[in-house]
């Protein structure tokens, strides 16, 4: 009777001597993987400038229609006031602060927290908490968005700006912090155009973006200068005056959910 050990021996007879073309397989896998990464970059982040993936937490999830950001969504920010009078910002608080800085009338607001989740996708790897808030408004016939993201891991932020769709410019913010301006205009059908400003503070990174679905000739109602002003404002921070958290609690049309849930409603087909 053939035993388990004998099965293993027979399997060895079958395959021990086979010699696949390793380099051809690896090259093929590498090429396919690169293509998949590029496709995901373009489709990811809610179809938004996936080539830069600047809108970190907006999520690769849209591409799959699932929440890839993981189950852990307990906000690191409790809103409890600290000894310096500041409180950890909540998604609602961040949205309220953002709204106060944007000279537009949003018709919806969104927010959520990502903490300690690691995606198996390129583009977002949240080893540190990130709080996100987003305002939706009308731009022509399309939905436009202004997004603010704050995270503790300023030192860990990296940008890849070599994508042909992306233009990155180093700046120095008014307060001396390092800043990067990124603008992307992807090919039609490969995500939404986006303007973004990243500001690197000593203990946090702030990212403010403006983008829109459904229009390849996106002209943001918010200038780069405006975005820089928002990103450097102390209201856009992980720690804010508690009044903003309180104001956030009063916001109407606020949706606290994942990127998948948010963009499932607003992203046009194919984005």
């Amino acid at each position: 009777m053939m035993t388990e050990q004998e099965l293993v021996q027979r399997m060895g007879v079958v395959v021990d001597d086979v010699t696949p073309d390793v380099h051809a397989l690896v090259d093929g896998g590498l090429a396919a993987g690169r293509g998949e990464v590029r496709r995901k970059r373009r489709l990811a982040v809610g179809g938004v400038a996936a080539s830069v993936a600047l809108v970190v937490g907006l999520g690769v999830a849209v591409d799959r229609g699932t929440d890839l950001l993981g189950a852990e969504r307990t906000p690191p920010a409790t809103g409890v006031e600290q000894s310096d009078g500041l409180a950890a910002v909540t998604p609602r608080g961040l949205a309220a602060a953002l709204e106060s800085l944007v000279p537009l009338e949003p018709y919806a607001a969104y927010g959520y927290v990502v903490e300690g989740a690691a995606l198996d996708e390129p583009g977002a790897d949240f080893s540190e908490p990130a709080t996100l808030a987003m305002l939706e408004y009308q731009v022509g016939a399309s939905a436009g968005f202004i997004n603010a993201t704050v995270t503790t891991d300023a030192a860990g932020v990296e940008l890849i700006c070599e994508d042909p769709d992306v233009t990155c410019t180093e700046r120095v913010a008014a307060d001396g912090d390092r800043a990067v301006v990124a603008r992307t205009r992807p090919e039609p059908g490969y995500g939404a155009p986006l303007d973004a400003v990243l500001v690197f503070r000593a203990d946090e990174a702030v990212m403010v973006t403006s983008f829109a679905f459904g229009t390849k000739d996106f002209v943001s109602p918010i200038s780069i200068s405006d975005l820089m002003g928002i990103a450097t404002d102390p209201r856009i921070s992980l720690r804010v005056d508690p009044q903003w958290n309180q104001a956030g609690e009063l916001m109407e049309q606020f949706d606290e959910g994942s990127s998948a849930e948010i963009f499932a409603d607003v992203a046009p087909d194919g984005v």
């Binding site: 050990q5 293993v8 696949p20 093929g28 896998g29 396919a32 600047l54 996708e121 390129p122």
Partner: protein, 178 residues
């Protein structure tokens, strides 16, 4: 937070080159078709590239890769089960001194359901535990035990009990994880 990974392609390539022969052998045992095994391995390598940051963080990158291969095979088997059947034949260029033994086993494996093939390969060829095999195949541990026993019995029926085959006995010795 890393907004974008700076992909370490050198590390990926080094890992892929090292693990590909072993992945290919498992794939060949699972599917019995040289070209399909190549496709499965290439697809697996592409998935590993996409998920490289996670692979690097895994307790065992090779175990992660083998798990990915198993899922890729089972997914393929589910979607193609009505349109494709695995072939035992290898390319003509591949010669083997134990041709009859090789074909016999591949034929026997081909007679099994894809999930049973995967269970046998994971449990015995890859020496994975029942729990690990269950995890990789989406079965319960009880189902893994049952399928292992049943598939082995089926193989005995198909290829016989040639336990005195000296060619096989000298090739490899194996132990089975609990």
């Amino acid at each position: 937070m890393r907004v974008f990974h700076q992909r370490d392609e050198a590390a990926y390539t080094e890992f892929a080159v090292a693990v590909t022969p072993r992945l290919f052998r498992s794939a060949l045992l699972m599917c019995g078709d040289w070209h399909l095994a190549e496709d499965l391995v290439q697809t697996t390598l592409a998935k590993l590239y996409v998920a490289w940051s996670k692979v690097e963080r895994a307790d065992s990158a090779e175990a992660y890769a083998r798990g990915t291969l198993t899922k890729t095979f089972l997914s393929h088997a589910r979607t193609r089960r009505n349109s494709e059947a695995p072939r035992a034949e290898l390319p003509e260029a591949v010669t083997h001194p134990d041709e009859s033994l090789r074909l016999e086993l591949l034929e026997g494996l081909r007679s099994l359901e894809p999930t049973d093939r995967a269970v046998l390969v994971l449990r015995y060829w890859e020496d994975r535990s029942v729990a690990d095999t269950a995890l990789q195949t989406g079965l319960t541990e009880g189902a893994v035990r049952t399928r292992s026993s049943r598939a082995l019995a089926r193989l005995r029926d198909v290829i016989g009990d040639d336990t005195n085959d000296s060619r096989a006995a000298t090739k490899r010795t194996g132990t089975v994880a609990p």
